[in-house]
């Protein structure tokens, strides 16, 4: 299935992600200072924001892989597109669950239809639809082609999610990363959490894409076995 070098790399990457997660928790809970107005509730930020940024990165991978599939017609691009969409959906699920848990004590409501929240939910739904649609097309070539086109269209929502709090008035906190709103003492914890989420995404995408590659080879084998029967 996998060659020995790749297996070792994935094992090392997996161990680095596990150790990184422990470090991220340590930084978020014990090193980062207590925020003045929100108190300890603000510590949700250290996993919520990196999950969001990393989710958008995964969707960007999906976009690039989909374009590459349409250009090159190689199955490995479709496998990478599928893997990154699936991991992106998982990461955005974290965002959409932890966001309301933070919002309830901060805004006194679980959810509000603000531009950032609405566009994020739409983005998540688009990629869930992408994953579901793939199950309804049996021909692998047609499935890959249709999914690539769908993915390119779906990605149009990603910049809207990113820029929504810059373009429109929104209840969601302003973009503190670029505007200097994040205290210098909080930066190391945020940077480590962000780096660990990026590593986690790479690890999961590699595993999922490898799984899809093997499934594709197996389907080909099954078909040729049936033909020769």
């Amino acid at each position: 299935m996998k060659d020995r070098g790749e297996g070792t790399f994935d094992a090392v990457l997996g161990a680095a992600v596990a150790a990184g997660m422990v470090l991220a928790l340590y930084m978020a809970f014990l090193v980062a200072p207590r925020e003045r107005t929100m108190g300890d509730l603000q510590r949700i930020f250290y996993f919520h924001v990196p999950a969001g940024i990393t989710g958008l990165t995964a969707f960007a991978f999906n976009f690039v892989a989909s374009v590459m599939f349409l250009v090159r017609r190689k199955h490995r691009w479709d496998a990478l597109a599928l893997a990154s969409a699936e991991v992106g959906v998982m990461l955005f699920s974290i965002v959409l669950v932890t966001g309301p848990i933070w919002a309830k004590p901060a805004w006194f409501v679980w959810w509000t239809w603000s531009p950032r929240l609405t566009s994020s939910l739409v983005l998540w739904m688009l990629y869930v639809a992408y994953l579901l649609v793939r199950n309804y097309v049996s021909d692998p070539e047609r499935r890959a082609q249709m999914s690539a086109v769908f993915a390119i269209v779906a990605f149009a929502d990603a910049p809207i999610v990113w820029f929504s709090i810059r373009w429109w008035r929104d209840q969601h906190p302003s973009p503190m990363l670029e505007t200097g709103g994040l205290s210098p003492a909080m930066w190391p914890a945020f940077a480590i959490c962000w780096a660990v989420f990026q590593l986690l995404m790479i690890y999961l995408v590699r595993r999922r894409a490898a799984l899809e590659g093997v499934r594709h080879d197996l389907d080909e084998l099954m078909r040729s076995a049936e033909r020769s029967a």
């Binding site: 919520h48 991991v87 974290i94 932890t98 309830k104 004590p105 093997v214 197996l218």
Partner: protein
């Protein structure tokens, strides 16, 4: 609920979502391995 309870709930949610995904990935890998074994047996019988 105090703020610590919300903080706890958020971090539990992160780990639950991650665990569900890892479990589903592992289950799919196991299913695929079984399919490979089945195919190998089928080919050996011929």
């Amino acid at each position: 609920m105090n703020t610590m309870a919300y903080l706890f709930a958020a971090y539990v949610a992160v780990w639950v979502i991650l665990a569900i995904y890892l479990f589903s990935l592992h289950a799919r890998e196991r299913k695929l391995r079984d399919e490979v074994r089945r195919l190998r047996t089928m080919l050996e019988r011929r």
